[in-house]
């Protein structure tokens, strides 16, 4: 089986009687950028938390890299290979300086101080963030914080990335920058986002979580403005090429049948508008 992560029949509720997740199945294949959408409080963040073992589901099974995860030790191992970028970068950056913060992950993985510093420099170069190295994390702008939090997770060399609403409160420039960075990364990812444009640009597959059920996103669920736009689109089908990612999502939720068939909208290597001081 080629899937990296598999969730089987996961059910969960914070209180008894509450069904945040109801027998949810999900599998992530290599090279996918899987989007999960759904209203506030649908349980998207909960799903990711269960995936990395921060919450134990009431029933169901999490497997990663071909191995079923049961104990806390299994999940610790999983967390060392799956990078989770949380919703608010302020929650992720707690060390005084950027270099210390990025080194935190490698140090936890057992790297020596010098090795950790070497990794920090490498990652900062990769994302063209060299100039932020010795800045105080707390004084970074919102966009810089977001990019540094991505760097901090990449420093652990994860095989899979999970991003929970990475575009919140980002301005358009930083948004484009983040999009470019994400498009340039080779890892498979699961992304949560309310932003249909971000989704359209990056998604290779989109699922919707609603009422505890995870399903392929229906095409018609959109607001008045989007509907108006959709009508315009229909009139000029050729005008907006990268926009059909949602439609090409495979019909079944567990789509391990055609993993590579979904076209990636864009695969240029990472290009960043800000020049690094390499």
């Amino acid at each position: 089986m080629s899937s990296l992560i598999d969730l089987n029949d996961i059910s969960y509720g914070y209180r008894s009687g509450q069904k945040v997740l109801d027998r949810v199945n999900l599998s992530l294949n290599a090279d996918e950028r899987l989007f999960i959408t759904g209203p506030n409080g649908a349980g998207k963040s909960t799903l990711l938390r269960i995936l990395v073992g921060l919450i134990k589901p009431h029933s169901g099974r999490v497997s990663a890299f071909g191995k079923v995860c049961v104990s806390e030790a299994d999940f610790h191992e999983l967390r060392c290979r799956v990078g989770f970028i949380v919703q608010d970068p302020d929650d992720q950056l707690f060390c005084p300086t950027v270099v210390e913060d990025i080194a935190f992950g490698p140090l936890n993985l057992g790297a020596s101080r010098d090795e950790a510093l070497a990794i920090v420099d490498e990652v900062l170069d990769q994302l063209h963030l060299r100039h932020l190295r010795d800045r105080i994390t707390h004084e970074l702008s919102g966009g810089e914080k977001r990019l540094v939090s991505v760097a901090a997770v990449l420093a652990m060399r994860p095989d899979v990335l999970l991003l929970d609403e990475p575009t919140n409160a980002l301005d358009e420039e930083n948004l484009e920058r983040l999009e470019d960075i994400l498009l340039g990364l080779p890892q498979a990812m699961i992304l949560i986002s309310h932003d249909p444009h971000f989704r359209r640009k990056l998604a290779t597959r989109t699922l919707e979580l609603r009422g505890g059920i995870l399903s392929t996103r229906p095409a018609k669920k959109c607001s008045a403005a989007e509907r108006a736009k959709a009508e315009v689109m229909e009139a000029n089908p050729d005008a907006n090429a990268p926009d059909n990612a949602d439609a090409s999502a495979s019909a079944s939720v567990k789509s391990s049948a055609n993993p590579g068939a979904v076209p990636k909208p864009n695969t240029r290597p990472d290009i960043s508008p800000v020049a690094g001081q390499a």
Partner: protein, 228 residues
Amino acid sequence: MHIVDGALAPEVLIGGGVIAVAGLGLGLRKLPIDKIPATGVLSATFFVASLIHVPVGPTSVHLIMSGLAGLVLGWAAFPALFVGLLLQAVFFGFGGLTVLGVNTVNIAMPAVLIGLTFRGLVARSTPKVAAIWGGIAGAASIAVTTIFVAISLGLSGEGFIPAAKLVFFAHIPIMIIEGLISAAAVFLICKAKPELLRTDTADIAHEPAFDAPASPQTATTAHEASNG
């Protein structure tokens, strides 16, 4: 660190209560109405500290961070820590009602004394040196607290004296760990937000030009608002 109801002699309970009321009075006097939000939010932070468990050898202990409270809040640490102890006593059953005064004195008094002593040193130093002073302050306030606890027990009966000694020695690892953690916290604060340590709460809000009415009048208007 909390003493429970029923252990101490009445004289100790009354003495603790009287000192606590005096300390609260002093602390509240140094707390003008527009500093209440800042003090309340910081008080909530120190309450949260008591929910953070760190490993010590094979077990774990919760943080107290009273040294840091003294450094950051000065005299206002007294009411701030009292509120935390009150909530713990009432809603978690930690400590008790009659010993609330003694417990407050034991924890808040060292915090205030140590905080006032080290505050100037921390404020004037570079982050690395400040971290060392902060560490010493963190460890020392726990040490003084355990001495106070030992004294309250010792005054209540001869039978408690060995227990009091045990309390002190059992807390030596905790002193060390509180010291280390306080040092790291002070280092971070010096880098990220030195204002937090450089001044007392009276100057924390960036806008001192706030013309609040005199507090006695304030209290009466508030009463009217609630009882009318």
